[in-house]
């Protein structure tokens, strides 16, 4: 399983905080992020990487969305 970076639409606040709004999956479909449950610095041991980890609810599922220096990927 290889690590794949994905496109993300996000809101950048005036204080520098970033809130991801939707992701574009590798098959081209766009999924809205219903809710961001948690934001913290974390390492991704499954895919390899480190960055800001957003715990997101997408279509009722909780997933980890990582932002590693501006590049986004899903920890699966």
């Amino acid at each position: 399983m290889s690590k794949e970076f994905i496109a993300v639409t996000a809101e950048h606040g005036p204080d520098g905080h970033i809130r991801p709004l939707s992701i574009k999956w590798t098959n081209g479909r766009v999924y809205n992020i219903d809710r961001v449950l948690d934001v913290r610095q974390a390492a991704s041991l499954k895919n390899g990487g480190q960055g800001t980890r957003y715990t997101c609810r997408i279509c009722g599922k909780e997933v980890y969305l990582f932002c590693d220096e501006g590049k986004w990927f899903i920890d699966r």
Binding site: Q41, A42, A43, S44, L45, K46, G48, G49, Q50, E69
Partner: protein, 412 residues
Amino acid sequence: MGRSILHVDLNNFYASVECLYRPELREKAVAVGGDVEARHGIILAKNYLAKAAGVKTGEAIWQARQKCPGLICVPPDFRKYLRFSRMARAIYAEYTDLIESFGIDEVWLDVTGSVQLFGDGELIAEDIRRRLREELGITGSAGVSFNKIFAKLGSDMKKPDATTIITEDNFKKIVWPLPVGELLYVGRSTQQKLEIRAINTIGDLAKHDISKLRLLLGVWGETLWHFANGIDEAPVRKSGEDSIIKSVGNSTTTPRDLVNNEDVKLIVYVLAESVAARLRRHGLKCKTVAISVRSTELFSFERQGKLLAPTYLSDHIASKAMDLFAANYRWDKPIRSIGVRGSDLVTAESHFQIDLFETDKTEKEILERTVDDIRRRFGYYSIQRCSMLQDQKLTGFNPKDDHIIHPVSFFK
């Protein structure tokens, strides 16, 4: 109440970061090695599997491959390591402002003032290790003690990802049986001198007569005796930008051997430009220039000379360095690496005795400052000395920004 000092050592730092980013390497023997083509081909760091196979930091990559045939060698990515080092520092900073870096991957923390907030040294160490693991994905080993020397010893005792506590009550039991070479600043030759006199453990050293140690090792004997007895009052310094600079230097191992004065001149100019630019950035001038030279036989020497007036101009530094070189090297052997250093620093604005017959340097200073500006805006290679184009393979490096990891001393 005694002090509460932590020493945190990020385990196999470079290799751990590389393995974090490439999970497929995690179960294999991995080493981070320099660029073989540019003759920086030594092992910089390795993971535990490589270590188990006998790979040592500092040996040539081909030597390591012989010991460990499956060794995976990855090139270093210093930008990434510095980012992780900074992030680790940000974690430490949440517990104390007394942080003293010891290289890129080691740090001392004085948490004496924070124990009311976060719990004792051990709890803080556990917390820091957990956060390094969870937030950065790397492990660290921590030593908790009442002085810096034992804290460092502690962090070396259990690896990876463990905490060792050394207190005033148990240090005789924990520290004293260790071989004397484990103590900070007991290197190979000191260890030999001590072992000849049957001082094999740190305990032996601690129980030895201090005056005899002084005869044997000079002032160092006393210092080491104090270390062994846990008498070390050295404070954890707030280090970083505000540390006092004593000298500014750059050195490089060149991609090919240098065989004549022309070659040396090219390298000296590259290094002198970097030294001068760094002096200017810090608002300093140097009064002494030193060079270090290492031949292909690894014979090395250093020479230094005073300048007529303090300077931060690359021309002056380079010509002094070339004078020193020409006066001290007879070309028995080709040269492998060379360094230029400016020391005896004064602030750039300080007054000095001007020379009656010397031409005004103001114009040159403005010129070099302009070069700094151009390089800052358009990149290092946007403006260069013409002579640099004679051999771009030799001069194609930027000592100012390519390497920013400096070794540090315990006694600053």
